[in-house]
């Protein structure tokens, strides 16, 4: 019993604490064996799509497959601001998750990218920057079929034809009036 002196207890405690601290600091480093790289994204215009590839590798350089990578974008609308998810991709066998992104607003955007590698304790973050230039209207109403010629034009043709014929009949009536107009009393006498 006397062999376990106070001094030795202190040394052991200090060593244990030191190890704990070491582990605490080194923990993430030890656990974070993921190396992430995001390729620079080209400038893209509204209406185009762009690929945002995120490559995940372990510290040993092997690609991390099957990891879910989530992409977020900060948005503001009608007085409400916040982050919204814009995509979720799983890394393939070569450790790359590529989001096919169709930007919806021009300007400078910073995407936040999150991933949780297998065996990791926490979610890790990185970011990507996209420059989006303005473009034409994207959304088109889906309804309507345009068959040329079949429509208002047809209605007009039919109407014009009918009213032309009616006009012609009116002219016949005018003809009757004229044919009798200059005759004076001739017709009346013939009847008596």
């Amino acid at each position: 019993m006397k062999a376990i002196t106070r001094r030795s207890t202190r040394i052991v405690a200090g060593l244990l604490a030191g190890c704990a601290i070491l582990v605490a600091f080194a923990g993430p480093t030890i656990a974070s064996h993921v190396h992430v790289s995001v390729a620079t994204v080209d400038e893209v215009a509204i209406g185009e799509t762009v690929a945002i590839p995120v490559a995940l590798r372990g510290t040993d350089g092997s690609p991390l497959a099957g990891t879910v990578v989530t992409f977020y974008l900060h948005m503001a609308f009608a007085g409400v601001e916040g982050e919204a998810e814009i995509g979720r991709v799983v890394t393939d066998d070569s450790g790359v998750a590529s989001l096919t992104y169709r930007p919806r607003l021009a300007g400078h955007h910073e995407l936040r990218i999150e991933y949780l590698a297998a065996g990791a304790a926490e979610v890790e973050t990185t970011s990507a920057v996209i420059e989006v230039t303005g473009g034409a209207q994207l959304y088109r109403s889906p309804a309507g079929v345009d068959v040329p010629g079949v429509g208002v034009e047809l209605l007009m043709v039919v109407l014009a034809t009918v009213w032309t014929i009616l006009f012609w009949v009116v002219l016949r009536i005018v003809a009757i009036a004229r044919a009798g107009g200059e005759a004076g009393e001739v017709g009346l006498e013939a009847r008596r």
Binding site: L155, L166, V169, I173, G180, L188
Partner: protein, 459 residues
């Protein structure tokens, strides 16, 4: 020759009589009708002042008696087309005493029908918007176009064959009638003196009109049906509506014509010209169209009823079993089956029987328009309790006023214009007599492509 001249004289006297003499009964009828119309005007003033809330229509059942009556009147207007045009095209000789009355009915029915659409508007003060801002794609604009075209064509078709008879009036009434009437006939007869050139013009005008007016009339009621069929209401969303409505229009047109004929025949002593044969033939036509209507109804109801898509079951219950069952079964039995039976049974195959059948059909067809409109709107679109509709005194008053206006206009017409197509009836009679090989020496009638007045042959 003498007999033919006598017959001719009698015909002309009969045609002239209503214009020459006006009895007390006429004024009594006119006063009554004007009183009813006056009450209708008061009801409309109430509606203008307070809005359509004075009717029974509401958001769920937003069309009612007014639109039903509008469709009914436009339907009746097909009387003239059928009798005048189709029978003229097929050269059915028996039509001649009836054509004038049929054409009257058409014009008057169109005027009354158009009035009911205007009565139904929430903002009649903005009626001109229809012409200023009209959209070609709207069924209502198609309706305006079709009815305007049909009204123009019908007025023309009424006027043109009437020219020779107006000339007759001008000549025979010159001494007896007042100055304004003389002026009226002189103007409207547009110098008709039975010249060959005039006859040719008249013949070609009538020939073109009688063919043109058939597709116009078909298009009118088709377009009226499309006001309903272009919506997605369950009972209305049917490709059959156009044909269905046109058949119904001709059907109700024949019925109204029989009734008008019977009344005018009695009032103006036309028994010699409008005989029982005419009523029976029209009754046969009516029965034929009743059969067509039965076929159309079976087609419509069976095709929907077999599958019972959403909304159809509710509609069938309200139509066959519940709220509208009395109206529907009366329409089917009294309006469609009864005319066929009456036409087939020899005992009822007479003037009285045909008039009774016509009354049943007229009533049944108004009821049919009514329940088409109301049941169509009554099928619930979302989860809510089905609404109900009952016309108020304002709507009934305006219906009465509309019918009174219809009757009044026809009555007034008969006092101003020849109610029988004198020259056509005479021509038909001549041909009949000539064919029968009568001993009366008549000039052989050469084939001419225009109309002829009997005077030419009889002298």
């Amino acid at each position: 020759m003498a007999a033919l001249n006598d017959w001719q004289e009698r015909l002309e006297e009969t045609a002239l009589e209503p214009v020459r003499r006006t009895g007390r009964r006429f004024w009594a009828v006119v006063v009554t009708l004007v009183a009813i119309i006056g009450w209708g005007v008061y009801a409309y003033i109430v509606q203008l002042r307070d809005g359509l809330v004075v009717t029974g229509m509401r958001d769920r059942i937003s069309w009612g008696l007014y639109i039903a009556t509008f469709v009914f009147f436009i339907g009746i207007s097909h009387a003239g087309t059928l009798i005048s045009a189709i029978l003229r095209v097929s050269n059915a000789r028996w039509r001649t005493p009836v054509t004038r009355m049929a054409e009257f009915v058409t014009v008057v029915a169109l005027i009354c029908g158009a009035s009911f659409v205007i009565i139904d508007l929430g903002r009649p003060d903005r009626l001109l918007n229809v012409f200023i801002y009209g959209r070609w794609q709207s069924p209502i604009i198609w309706d305006v176009l079709a009815i305007t075209t049909y009204l123009t064509a019908s007025v023309t078709y009424l006027f043109v064959p009437m020219i020779p008879d107006l000339a007759l009036f001008r000549d025979r009434l010159a001494d007896r009638s007042s100055r304004w009437r003389g002026w009226l006939y002189r103007t409207l007869a547009i110098g008709w003196h039975d010249r060959p050139a005039q006859r040719r013009s008249l013949g070609s005008a009538i020939g073109v009109l009688m063919i043109l007016i058939i597709p116009i009339a078909v298009s009118v009621h088709t377009v009226v049906s499309w006001i309903f069929a272009m919506t997605m209401r369950v009972p209305w969303d049917s490709a059959l509506f156009g044909a269905f409505f046109v058949a119904g229009a001709i059907f109700s047109g024949i019925a109204i014509l029989i009734i008008v004929m019977a009344i005018l025949r009695r009032a103006y002593h036309l028994e010699e010209y409008v005989t029982e044969k005419h009523f029976v033939y029209l009754g046969y036509l009516m029965a034929a169209f009743a059969a067509i209507m039965i076929y159309a109804n079976i087609s419509e109801l069976l095709v929907h009823g077999y599958k019972l898509r959403e909304g159809v079951e509710f509609h069938f219950r309200q139509l066959f079993l519940n709220e509208f069952a009395p109206l529907f079964w009366f329409y089917l039995l009294g309006g469609l089956i009864a005319p066929i039976v009456i036409a087939l049974v020899p005992a009822t195959r007479n003037v009285g029987g045909m008039v009774a059948a016509a009354v049943l059909v007229t009533l049944a067809m108004w009821i049919e328009r009514y329940f088409i409109v109301v049941t169509g709107l009554r099928v619930p679109l979302m989860p809510y309790e089905p609404a109900s509709y009952a016309p108020t005194w304002v709507e009934w008053s305006l219906l009465a006023a509309g019918l009174a206006a219809f009757a009044l206009l026809i009555t007034v017409f008969t006092k101003l214009f020849p109610i029988i197509a004198v020259w056509e009836v005479a021509e038909d009679h001549e041909a009949t007599v000539a064919n029968a090989g009568a001993a009366i020496p008549t000039v052989a009638i050469p084939a001419v492509d225009g109309p002829r007045l009997a005077e030419e042959g009889g002298r």
